[in-house]
């Protein structure tokens, strides 16, 4: 088992290097002169040249990438913001927790609601519950997260004044943004759970359990569910990535001080190091979550566990 963990962690490294490569390349090839971006339009030609020398901007691509990678892995230094001149890493670390909290809470909602709804829909296939749930799920997938956010603000903040439309920290401030983020997640988890349950219920071994004379409720709970939830875990991991992506949009609407809002502001100000830095950190977080999901999966499914005994 430890061997598997070790192997998976090792295989993560080339992926992260690859992501760093993409991020760096995007930065490198973005039109615009970094020197001018940092020093401003008033800077003299000498100042610009000096800046380029010290920052190593005249070196070949590979050298610059190597330097970037080295600094990133040893000092967590991925450049400075063009606007605030502070280290990108610091900027991001200040706001990352908010984003993680939001995404985690939305993930929690997605699982808490999605799995039971999916199970019941599968057991009562073709019932009215199933049909309604599926239609809602469809709507959930199709609804743009930013539109839902705006609608929720419209109804609950503006018209009804029940919940705040911005800020962070208090629980009530978290509710609307989490719901708008989680909607798509709930929909996807519901659909996925339903479809795996439907498949599992049709398996021969379920018939064997019924032939033993087992109560239907235990057939589902003890036999069908454990098998059905295994793939759902993988989906949940991927969903987290989508949630992180969606958080970018949600934070803008609800003025939440997270990585997303930081990036959106940076886009407006053409502060590319921050934009790409945000992408890098989120990609790293996503990869770690996927690693965790893989490990849980391996731990739970005896077929995989046995391979690495």
């Amino acid at each position: 088992m430890l061997k598997y963990i070790f192997k998976r962690i090792i295989s993560l490294i080339p992926v992260l290097i690859g992501v760093a490569f993409i991020v760096f390349s995007l930065l490198y090839f973005t039109p615009g002169d970094p020197a001018r971006m940092v020093l401003g339009d008033m800077a003299t030609e000498e100042a610009l040249q000096a800046f380029r020398e010290t920052e190593g901007l005249n070196d070949p691509f590979i050298v610059q990438f190597g330097r970037y990678l080295y600094k990133a892995t040893t000092q967590a230094d991925i450049g400075r913001s063009y606007v605030t001149k502070r280290a990108v890493t610091n900027e991001i670390m200040t706001v990352f927790p908010a984003t993680l909290k939001l995404a985690a809470f939305s993930m929690f909602l997605a699982v808490i609601f999605g799995i039971p709804f999916g199970i019941i829909s599968a057991i009562k296939q073709y019932s009215w519950f199933d049909s309604i749930t599926m239609i809602f799920a469809m709507i959930g997938i199709s609804m743009p997260v930013f539109w839902l956010g705006v609608l929720l603000i419209l109804f609950f903040s503006v018209r009804l004044n029940w919940l705040p439309s911005s800020g962070f920290g208090t629980f009530s401030a978290m509710i609307l943004p989490s719901i708008s983020l989680a909607a798509q997640g709930v929909a996807i988890v519901t659909r996925m759970t339903r479809s795996t349950m439907l498949e599992v219920i049709r398996q021969d071994y379920i018939r064997t359990v019924r032939a033993k004379g087992q109560k239907e409720s235990l057939v589902i709970w003890r036999h069908a569910l454990p098998n059905a939830l295994i793939p759902v875990i993988t989906i949940a991991g991927i969903q987290f990535g989508q949630l992180l992506g969606g958080a970018v949009l949600t934070e803008s609407i609800f003025s939440i001080p997270g990585v997303g809002r930081l990036m959106v502001e940076a886009i407006k100000m053409r502060d590319f190091p921050v934009v790409q830095g945000g992408v890098l950190y989120i990609a790293v977080a996503f990869s770690l979550v996927n690693l965790l999901v893989d490990l849980i999966y391996a731990w739970i499914d005896p077929r995989i566990k046995a391979q690495y005994r």
Binding site: P14, V15, L16, G18, V19, F21, I22, V23, L26, L27, F29, T30, P31, M138, I139, I141, S142, M143, P144, V145, F146, W147, V150, L151, I153, L154, V158, S195, E199, G241, Q242, L244, G245, G246, V248, L249, S252, I253, M263, V264, I267, K268, F272, V275, Q276, G278, V279, I282, A283, F286, S287, N290
Partner: protein, 287 residues
């Protein structure tokens, strides 16, 4: 060979029959067709130009003169939504088209040749996949700069990995089957084998993914425009319209309501259609 063709044609009829039975899918198809017509004949359907400002008529709620009201510059919202359908469809199809062609090619090569090439390509895809799709699109769009074209490229590139995977797995499942061996023994070139045997058999999952992919592309494009990437004003992209109307949501909610509704209905229709196609093409899964 003609026997196989006949069977494929026969299958097509079956598939259409199954699809027609699915009411939601048919509903989706109707909406998509309507959307196409709207986009094609936008000039005839929209009463006003999407950029024309009627400043004295700004901020009007839906009325007889302006069916869905006007925005802060007095532009007719209905007309803008109609023209917006053009943009959405363009982005959706071109982005997905790009992803299918490039991703499909990579997947086919990867699956067919296997070995080191397969490893290399799949690693590259894994790297792309470790960045959430929307973020990848944002990163690329931020780098390329504003513009509809850049938006299409950004969304397209971020979608490549899924098609690469689909085609690769279809190729892997077919590659080992006997009729490929037979074709090789007959002396068919690799290219011919891919084109004639492998591609037709991987059509089904590609079509399903592409339909859902167009939906996702439109959604992503709207999201990107929402945060200010891609579309430049006064282009009537639905996401940009939503973003523009946000500041006025308290008093003039219809400015955000209608573009959002347009997005949602489009995505819903495409998702219904995509799901329906998936069920029609692989009915084993349903019952």
């Amino acid at each position: 060979m003609s026997q196989m063709k006949k069977r494929k044609m026969g299958n097509f009829g079956e598939i259409m029959r199954r699809l027609k039975k699915n009411r939601l899918a048919m509903f989706g198809l109707t909406i998509v067709v309507l959307l196409f017509i709207t986009a094609l004949f936008a000039d005839f359907i929209a009463p006003y130009s999407y950029a024309k400002q009627h400043l004295s008529d700004a901020f009007q709620a839906p009325n007889s003169k302006y069916i869905l009201g006007t925005d802060e510059f007095g532009r007719d919202i209905f007309s803008r939504i109609v023209y917006g359908s053009r943009i959405s469809l363009q982005v959706g199809f071109i982005a997905v088209g790009l992803a299918v062609v490039v991703g499909g090619f990579l997947g086919a090569v990867s699956g067919f040749y296997g070995g080191k090439i397969d490893n290399l390509i799949m690693r590259a895809m894994d790297i792309l996949l470790s960045i959430p799709q929307i973020l990848l699109a944002i990163a690329i769009a931020a780098s390329l700069g504003p513009g509809l074209f850049n938006l299409m490229i950004a969304v397209g590139i971020s979608s490549i990995p899924s098609y690469a995977r689909i085609v690769r797995s279809a190729v892997l499942s077919i590659r080992n089957q006997e009729f490929v061996e037979a074709a090789k023994a007959m002396g068919s070139s690799d290219f011919r084998i891919i084109m004639k045997h492998i591609l037709p058999n991987s059509m089904a999952p590609i079509i399903v993914q592409a339909t859902l992919g167009v939906a996702f592309a439109i959604l992503t494009a709207a999201g990107l425009s929402f945060i200010g990437l891609g579309i430049q004003p006064p282009m009537p992209e639905w996401g940009a319209m939503l973003s523009g109307g946000r500041g006025y949501i308290r008093d003039y909610p219809y400015m955000t309501l209608f573009p959002g509704l347009a997005i949602m209905i489009t995505i819903l229709a495409l998702n219904f259609l995509g799901d329906g196609l998936r069920d029609a093409l692989d009915p084993k899964l349903k019952r």
